[in-house]
């Protein structure tokens, strides 16, 4: 047993982080907010070219033949950068659509957020996922969808009036969303620590005050527990473990964003600071594919069936 990342995995992680830092830095993020969160098609194609969507496809299908652990590392970086767009749905759609794999087509999903659908206006196709099966619909096959004023400025939402069939979520969609939450949790920890080391009050950096220091320490503890859970679930692919990973990653992302906001004081409550974007997205992802209540029931079932 050696849980550490291999050299290849570390190189992949570094590569994606550099790509996103160059292509989706603070200015691009602000531009995305100003655009109302619509997908940057050019960036989408670049992600496609870099293998973001085709990562797990066999080499014969133009993929890299990598596994869930590698996909998790890549989605963690996306979460860290707060990259917007229906990333998980397009990644899944790549299995059956070369355009999705290449990033020339944006695919959302109608069964990820109960009666809401994300990035509907920008999407070329919408998936409907039933268990392990998927069906592709075109947006016009989902009539009467109405725009909703989305709380997350980076995730446009529409309401599907008839609701959508409730189906058990695909494990990989749950885990990749958890990986995004993990990246976000790690990022808000970094942001809080950096701010606490720079901002001075009472003649010293606020990070020297224990009340602030302890908030930051707890953020790291949540992140590292979630990381162990998410990485292990990527290796075992066990659905109970995946559900647990989502539960802990949701908690880490939401609570870390809240603590980060607190550490930033009044600045944290402004539109300018990035913190609110992490919090709003973390709340949204917490409801995607698998909610905390559902994850807890899955865990409880596992306990009961082990009796």
């Amino acid at each position: 047993m050696d849980f550490r990342l291999t050299d290849d995995q570390r190189a992949l992680q570094r590569g994606v982080r550099e790509l996103l830092a160059g292509r989706f830095g603070p200015e691009a993020l602000r531009a995305a907010v100003d655009r109302g969160g619509t997908v940057d098609r050019e960036l989408w194609r670049e992600l496609g070219a870099a293998g973001f969507f085709s990562l797990r496809l066999p080499e014969a299908q133009g993929g890299a033949g990598l596994g869930l652990p590698e996909a998790v590392l890549v989605f963690e970086e996306a979460g860290r950068a707060l990259l917007n767009g229906p990333l998980v749905a397009t990644h899944v759609a790549a299995e059956r659509s070369p355009e999705a794999a290449e990033g020339t087509c944006v695919v959302t999903c109608a069964t990820q957020l109960r009666s809401l659908i994300t990035h509907f206006a920008a999407a070329d196709a919408a998936l409907v996922i039933h268990g392990t099966g998927i069906r592709t619909r075109r947006p016009k096959d989902l009539p009467h969808t109405r725009p909703v004023r989305s709380m997350d400025p980076l995730t446009p939402l529409h309401r599907i009036p008839d609701g959508t069939p409730k189906a058990p979520p695909r494990p990989d969609t749950v885990l990749l969303t958890a990986a995004e939450q993990l990246g976000s949790a790690a990022r808000t920890t970094d942001m809080a620590v950096r701010y606490a080391g720079e901002r001075e009050q009472f003649g010293q950096p606020i990070g020297g005050f224990q009340a602030v220091k302890h908030l930051c320490a707890q953020m790291l503890v949540r992140t590292e527990l979630a990381r162990s859970a998410v990485y292990a679930a990527a290796i075992t692919e066990d659905f109970t473990e995946i559900a647990g990973a989502k539960l802990l990653a949701d908690e880490a992302a939401v609570r870390n964003a809240r603590d980060c906001l607190q550490v930033h004081g009044g600045m944290g409550f402004t539109w300018e600071a990035e913190v609110h974007l992490h919090l709003k997205r973390a709340w949204l992802r917490g409801q995607m594919w698998l909610t905390a209540a559902e994850a807890e029931e899955i865990q409880a079932d596992a306990l009961a069936s082990a009796l």
Binding site: R4, C216, V221, Y231
Partner: protein, 377 residues
Amino acid sequence: MDLTYTEEEEAFRARLREWLDLSLPKLSARPDPLDWPGRRAYDTTWQRMLYDAGYADVHWDASPTQRLIFLEETERAGAPYVGANFVGLLHAGPTIAAEGTAEQRERWLPPVLRGDEIWCQGFSEPDAGSDLASLRTKAVRDGDSYVVTGSKIWTSHAEVADWCELLVRTDPDAPRHRGISWLAMRMDAPGVTVRPLRTLAGSAEFAEVFLDEVRVPVANRVGEENDGWRVTMVTLSFERGTAFVGEVVACRRTLGELAAAARANGTWDDRVLRRGLGRLNAEFSALWRLIQWNVSESQKTGGVPGVGGSVFKLRYSHARQELYEAAAQILGPDAFDLDRQWAADRLSSLSYTIAAGTSQIQRNIVAERILGLPKGR
């Protein structure tokens, strides 16, 4: 990233499992928690059985992965953990192995492994708990002895210990961290008085130790004179890094028993309670994964656990308390019956956020040593 065990490791597991199946039935029944001599006898017998079977030094010499397997299997089989041997096996032993001279290793390690000698930890003092470096017990050199005077507190298992890993101040004029030395003291030396303290769980788990001109040979000093703080940091990294691993396996078993109890008494139908157990299940599974992560990381540092131990201890100590709070809700009135193991365990769980460094101190460590935030007060 690989969570599978090698063939060699699986063979180790299979051999161990077979030995446990054969040996555990030979062990007498667990003694009453209040019967200290009985507990000592039970724990040292178990250590002797491990010694004879070649497993005694698993906490020191085995690979970190073998140690994990050992803890997993012994816990699963319901075998005793280190018990009264915990200081010798988990802190003093590894510290002497890392910092002691060849002579010292030869003198002290084999009796720990054989279960012949029990150690206790004399670090904390009435005025030096979290602020350990402010300790005042003084040791004055007289020929080839130190003459030690002062008092220690919260010394676990002091009543049954043969040896004490003792921190003393050998230079009162040096800066706080610089004047400390690490000594091995016999508990039956003239001038040592042990006064048991009753814990809130009712047992005499720890004691006050008064030291009145106790003579300790200079040869019993581990590390250089006045370099004891560095040696102490080695001890503490073992204490936080690996000492709790076996307990996570035990908590997972306890959680399963709790689910069974909830099904039997109908509280399982209470959605809030049921989901709370589900959440704890996710939490303890993740804590196990975090241990595997820390163990893998420690392979880089030759098996000495890093500050990751503080991250683990913080989350684990709180999770353990939540587990017993959930138990109390599910068991209802039975939770007040001290003859039920649940009740005793619930009480003892309260010490986890205090012993081996309080949660507040662990947060300082994480913030300063991992996150690099400024030291403050």
